[in-house]
């Protein structure tokens, strides 16, 4: 089973990166605007500040989503779902199917455009009461939901 081995994690769909990029566009734009304003207020360092803002925005929009994607993964095994995300602050969570209260498959408009979905698994725990896995193909998310649901049904019957 799992021994913290990250190689056995399945990656989410590559389109997830695009969704993340578009989502972080607002933050990037904010960086640039803030830099331009700061540049207007302090003219001596104007170009330096704007360059810094632009670099930050580029990092935010181009590099960060790619990194987040690279370090995100999941694994479904017979009786549990493992979701790992983050590199600097890594969180690696396992939810046993027997503890799942209910399951959501959500799609925001952006995800819908790319045919992606987010699987949200709810448990009764106070910590980690819901574990979300974004960037799945809609069909995969539905299939996973059905898998987990079948398992829950078997356990409660």
């Amino acid at each position: 089973m799992d021994h913290g081995n990250d190689d056995e994690l399945t990656k989410v769909h590559p389109d997830h990166v695009r969704v993340l990029r578009i989502q972080s566009f607002a933050a990037g734009a904010f960086c640039v605007i803030a830099a331009v304003i700061a540049g207007l207020i302090f003219p001596p360092v104007r170009w330096y500040v704007i360059a810094l803002g632009a670099a930050l925005a580029l990092f935010w929009i181009i590099r960060l989503p790619a990194r987040r994607y690279a370090h995100k993964g999941y694994m479904m095994s017979g009786d549990r779902l493992r979701v790992a995300r983050g590199m600097l602050f890594r969180r690696d969570t396992v939810v046993p199917f027997g503890r799942v209260q209910h399951i959501d498959v959500t799609q925001n408009p952006l995800e819908r455009f790319y045919g992606l979905a987010t699987l949200v698994v709810h448990t009764a725990g106070t910590h980690n009461s819901s574990v979300a896995l974004a960037g799945l193909k809609r069909a995969d998310a539905d299939a996973m939901r059905e898998d987990i649901r079948r398992h829950i049904k078997r356990e409660t019957l």
Binding site: R91, T123, H127
Partner: protein, 514 residues
């Protein structure tokens, strides 16, 4: 389902009366524009006096208040064995019942005005979406929480078959104080024990309350409490007689003041404890634990055994010397706002263990292997914390203040070291066959005992420092509480997770001991 969807006579409950106020405010907010328009409109006609406009405005307000009032009086809800029912409507009555199996989730919603008044609207989501949901506005927040817990419990009962439902019905009769077939007394506190408990609950909260009250009433007092000059004047006016005692005077005054404050603190502690825990009894009946306590507001709580998620044993630094501990159960239900249920607030350990065993938990075995966290975490954090101190010492030394620099080095650095050592040594955990034990604290150790099968999720969280030093924090998802172990070596954490998960998976959820 039940044949008739109506509420049995005299059984429905009204929503919170404060909700009426919210409704009035809400209605008026909607009506305010028409009223203003009307007032201006009435001025357009030269011969109609302004009074008419005012009267019409008043009529609208009265009408709104009346509608809100009628709406409140005509709205009742009922939480039955099979379903939740709400009846509402002034002229056209609307009765709706939702069976527990159909309730997907219960959500509480608080808008600004209800929030100020401590109210909430509760929505029983059926998955039908939109306006077909069962919505109840407004109940008090505690009532909302209670309803949510209740509905969740009943839904679970339905899902798990009728055996539990019968057990619950039994518990309900027990809770009502009727026919208790077999209930054993587990723990009780007499007045003597209560008074002793009160002594340890020494509290100076009354001074905080007094200070708060004084601040409120400041403008009404002839002198200002917060002005030093007034106090100086008071002191000098009293000095004459204190001065007459010579050197002893201030000492005597100081002692008297200290003793008075101490006595007030003790009295507050005893009064609060007696008010809260008067007649504390914990019983075990067919369904679970039943706790009654309180002098002015008496509470009667029934907690099913299978709802107990974990036990928490706490103590205080003074009471520990005399062997006094407190026992709480962490459960899904909330105990008047706090997350766990107090089942034995002040008891010796040999009284506590039998109660713990009743909940299907047990004490850590004598040969349990206690794991300490990885010390690197605290060492490195200590070094990081020492950097500013070292910088300050260097600065002082450069300024030529050698004595001060030396003092800072000799006092602050060892203190930092001690602090890091203690915060390292206060954590430890052990894994039993079925349980997991987490101990935290050195002076006031707190022990949490949780059944592995009760855990919901296991998360391994690791920050940059943990990545470098090879440690992580293990968070367990516990229903109704928190359970985390910091500074666990990575390999050990994954092994721990594996063992816990295997024991979770091995147990079918429906086979849990009841």
């Amino acid at each position: 389902m039940t044949g008739e969807g109506g509420i049995p006579p005299y059984q429905g409950q009204r929503t919170s009366p404060l909700g009426f106020i919210v409704q009035v405010v809400e209605n008026l907010r909607k009506a305010i524009l028409p009223i203003i328009a009307l007032m201006f409109g009435s001025q357009q006609f030269g011969d109609t006096p302004v009074v008419v406009g005012l009267l019409i405005g008043l009529a609208i307000i009265v009408f709104n208040v009346a509608v809100a009032w009628l709406g409140w009086t005509r709205r009742r809800y009922f939480v039955g064995d099979e379903d939740v029912r709400v009846e509402s409507g002034i002229f056209s009555r609307d009765a709706r019942s939702v069976p527990y199996e159909r309730i997907q989730d219960v959500s509480l919603e608080q808008k600004l005005i209800p929030r100020i008044l401590g109210l909430t609207s509760i929505c029983f989501e059926t998955g039908a979406g939109g306006k077909d949901e069962l919505k109840l506005s407004f109940v008090t927040q505690s009532e909302g929480e209670r309803l949510r817990t209740l509905v969740r419990e009943r839904r679970e009962d339905h899902a798990l078959g009728s055996a539990r439902q019968e057990a619950r019905a039994e518990a309900a009769t027990a809770a009502a104080g009727v026919a208790e077939p077999e209930s054993r007394l587990l723990f009780t506190m007499g007045p003597g024990r209560l008074a002793l408990f009160g002594l340890f609950e020494f509290s100076l909260i009354i001074f905080a309350l007094l200070a708060g009250a004084l601040q409120q009433l400041d403008s009404f007092l002839p002198y200002s409490v917060w002005s030093l000059d007034d106090w100086r004047g008071f002191a000098s006016s009293q000095m004459s007689w204190i001065g007459a005692w010579g050197v002893v005077g201030p000492v005597i005054v100081g002692t008297v003041v200290t003793i008075t404050i101490g006595l007030i603190g003790l009295a507050t502690g005893i009064a609060r404890t007696v008010a809260r825990d008067w007649g504390f009894t914990l019983e075990r009946n067919a369904r679970g634990f039943r706790r009654r306590r309180g002098l002015f507001t008496r509470t009667d709580v029934v907690m099913p055994v299978h709802r107990v998620q974990a036990a928490r044993i706490t103590t205080g630094c003074l009471r520990r010397l005399f062997g006094w501990h407190g026992l709480k159960f962490i459960s899904l239900a909330q105990d008047s706002g706090s997350e766990s249920h107090v089942v034995a607030p002040f008891a010796q350990m040999d009284e506590i263990w039998p109660i713990v065993r009743e909940a299907g938990l047990s004490a850590p075995p004598a040969d349990a292997r206690w794991h300490l966290p990885k010390s690197d975490r605290w060492v490195v954090l200590g070094i990081l914390g020492a950097i500013p101190v070292l910088a300050m010492i260097a600065f002082l030394a450069m300024e030529g203040r050698w004595l001060l620099a030396l003092a800072a080095g000799l006092v602050v650095l060892p203190m930092l070291g001690l602090r890091q050592y203690f915060s390292f040594a206060r954590h430890r955990y052990a894994v039993g066959v079925r349980q997991i034990f987490v101990r935290e604290g050195l002076v006031t150790p707190e022990l949490v005992i949780a059944q592995q099968i009760r855990l919901q999720t296991v998360e391994i969280a690791r920050g940059p420092l943990g990545r470098w030093l090879g440690y992580c924090t293990v968070h367990f998802g516990l229903a109704g509480g928190k359970l985390s172990i910091p500074g666990v070596p990575i390999a050990e954490a994954f092994a721990l997770r594996e063992s816990v998960l295997n024991s979770i998976a091995a147990v079918d959820f429906s086979d849990l001991p009841q």
